[in-house]
Symmetry: C2
Subunit: 193 residues, 2 copies
């Protein structure tokens, strides 16, 4: 099925370029013409993927979420109990991870008033919470499911709080400071005591 493979590949390339442009200049700076030029395809093709700003947001959001998921899966493939690794896969510790947060920020404003976009955001947070809960249980056998979920919620809250500050203030929130705060909070996980 070369046609389908080609279609998926082209969609991925368009989404990747669009996500990068959103992260660099905000959603309003992204034009169909720019994306087409940088993805090496036609404006007709790009227009097919995003009829409007809402489709563009959904596409780039999913792309950034895909990056994060792939990083988390790579961590867990190496060590299924690496709680710190899962958190670090999400934190804006380098330009790639920072760009993903910039894409999510572009999404949050419109999502506030859009029930479907808000539901997408909730689904993603819920998925990350499940992954983190399972990882915590593997790391700390004594931790029950309910306690693990509470600890996962606390860690995800810390990670989100760090990220939303660090994206605007990378000077204050160096990778070292992000890791230090994460380490302190990991030391407080109930099962780790």
């Amino acid at each position: 099925m070369p046609r389908i493979v080609d279609h998926a590949e082209r969609r991925r390339a368009v989404a990747e370029v669009a996500a990068r442009l959103v992260a660099e200049g905000g959603i309003d700076s992204v034009t169909v013409r720019d994306v087409a030029a940088k993805a090496g395809t036609s404006t007709a093709i790009v227009s097919h993927y995003f009829a409007g700003k809402r489709e563009l947001l959904a596409l780039t959001y999913a792309q950034a979420a895909g990056h994060a998921r792939a990083r988390v899966e790579a961590v867990l493939a190496r060590d299924p109990a690496d709680v710190a690794g899962v958190c670090e896969a999400i934190l804006p510790l380098d330009d790639d991870r920072r760009r993903d947060w910039q894409v999510w920020f572009a999404f949050w404003g419109p999502a506030v008033a859009d029930a479907e976009l808000a539901a997408e955001q909730r689904r993603r947070v819920a998925g990350t919470l499940e992954t983190l809960t399972a990882t915590l249980r593997r790391a700390h056998e004594a931790l029950g499911t309910a306690a693990a979920r509470e600890e996962a919620r606390r860690l995800l809250t810390i990670v989100t709080g760090i990220a939303t500050q660090a994206v605007f203030d990378p000077g204050q929130w160096t990778p070292a400071r992000q890791r230090r705060m994460l380490k302190q909070e990991l030391a407080r996980v109930a099962g780790a005591r």
Copy 2:
């Protein structure tokens, strides 16, 4: 100086209406005509306050920040050492506070690619950090400035993390859950041990 008073009052009224519309429908849904109608003024006056989306964002951001600051000041006027009260003044525990966060989210997307808007965000976070540090020092005399700042940073990170999740998921993040997590974290403040 009735003219100046009137000007300031009118600007406040316009900003208030604009902030409410941004929170309800996102920045792109706000029209000069709507704001003018709801603020009981002319489109010419409203156009004067926001020549474009960027000015509108800056105006509504400042308005939401003003709400938060007023709530924090009211808490500190009653009890200058009320750390929990300062945090609760910021958390989205009711519709008013939730609306402020919705306005900030609308701002974050564009701020990612706009050095001036990003600087405004950093200034606001730095101001809140100072207030929280001073409040912590009043609450826990044994806490030095550096330790108080670290604890303030941790609390503000928790508050920000809670808020960014709660705005999209008020069903999961009830006021009770927000307060419970805050209480747990306050119990962990170094000087409170």
